[in-house]
Symmetry: C2
DNA sequence: CAGAAAAATGAATGAGTATTCATTCATACT
DNA sequence: AGTATGAATGAATACTCATTCATTTTTCTG
């Protein structure tokens, strides 16, 4: 028990680390070959381990995929909360931080987006995937709606509701991901963020300055 | 040759009709089981035909999928052009027609969206799919950008570029599709369109009235 | 109507792959 | 050191499914 906690070397820790390693390999394989084209042999190979390893740690391919999606959602949620946390206080800063997060290299890169879209493509036929996606979506939506609500109250804006603004913003970022995935060549982080800001500055002029002006 | 043109009964026509029938069946199967889960037996069964029928008409599963995506894109493009055509003249009317199209039941229904997302999920690993998606995307983008350009010129708007507005709008509609697919229960056509309009009325106030006002 | 051509069938094939499991290897405890 | 326990291997298994093709059915043509 003495050396159990020495540099995270416990049995449980080792197991968790291996599972994470396999999940990472799965994401790479999905990005490379799609969910349909990915095989367990691919995953094992990517992780530098042997054939049966996935079934040993995850029981089945289905389980592996579900846990991969959960990990992806968890990862996103963590970054989301960190972004909100950094912009502590001001709702406007929070909103901007979320928009920036969604076009940031950490989130908005073809390899990651490919995995998201792969799962979204299966949402209709797999209730489990739908549930996970729905959960993270609702959470995102609620937070954004809350921030918009605060901003609207603070600025006494008359011509927009929190619902409308939130829906417009969340849709916009989700849609930007599609362009980034489909046309990564032409896609440009700055332009994308400017497009979002063009909405913010027009709808909430007291809280956001247009990209041109300092 | 006399009865060849009698109610579309020629050899070539019959062939084309059968191919279309198989493509329709494919879309249903993709929506029901995903691209990965769909089998050629499923498609044949859905069409009420026999095992080998797909290979007879399409040579391979890959071909079937490619042609299905092409058909989907073609279908969308046709509706797109019809919408633009109806709103002849005014760019503002054209833009609104496109936005309405994208949330209309003809386009924005889970069964159709599931197919789009299924293909998008494979875009990263299949250059062929990417090419088709990219093409329809660019076309859409160009048209919207042109309309925005005209509107901006006409209204002498200062604080937004055609690029920004077009990107915001196309992203928004794409993003709305995701919510419609993932949370079809809560999703509401009117709210979705209102969200888009909230952008239009704020950015192009001289051309669009807010949803509340007549 | 006869014969030819095209379309459709569905059983058989074989390639690919998730899963199993007997065996080997590594590590922790006494 | 010696033993027990968990981790990992990879060959063998069982199964799914795209594809083929010999045969049957339908449709066209003279």
């Amino acid at each position: 028990m003495a050396q159990a906690q020495k540099m995270g070397g416990g049995r449980a820790e080792a197991r968790a680390k291996r599972r994470q390693q396999l999940i990472d390999a799965t994401m790479k394989c999905i990005a490379r070959k799609g969910i349909g084209g990915m095989t367990l042999a691919d995953v094992a190979g990517e992780a530098g381990l042997s054939q049966g390893i996935v079934n040993l740690h995850f029981e089945s391919k289905d389980n592996l995929l579900r846990e991969t999606l959960e990990a992806l959602a968890g990862e996103y949620r963590a970054q989301f909360e960190r972004a909100i946390g950094r912009a502590d206080g001001s709702p406007a800063a929070g909103l901007l931080a979320l928009m920036e997060l969604d076009v940031s290299p950490g989130i908005c890169q073809p390899a990651k987006l490919a995995v998201w879209f792969a799962f979204w493509g299966e949402v209709k036929s797999r209730p489990t995937y739908r549930k996970i996606c729905d959960e993270i979506d609702s959470y995102y939506d609620d937070v954004v709606k809350g921030l918009c609500s605060d901003i609207i109250a603070d600025g006494a804006y008359q011509h927009v509701t929190a619902n409308q603004a939130a829906m417009a913003l969340t849709s916009m970022t989700n849609g930007l991901w599609l362009s980034c995935l489909v046309s990564p060549q032409e896609w440009n982080r700055h332009e994308a963020l400017d497009a979002v800001k063009s909405y913010l500055t027009h709808v909430f002029p007291k809280h956001f300055r247009s990209p041109g002006e300092s």
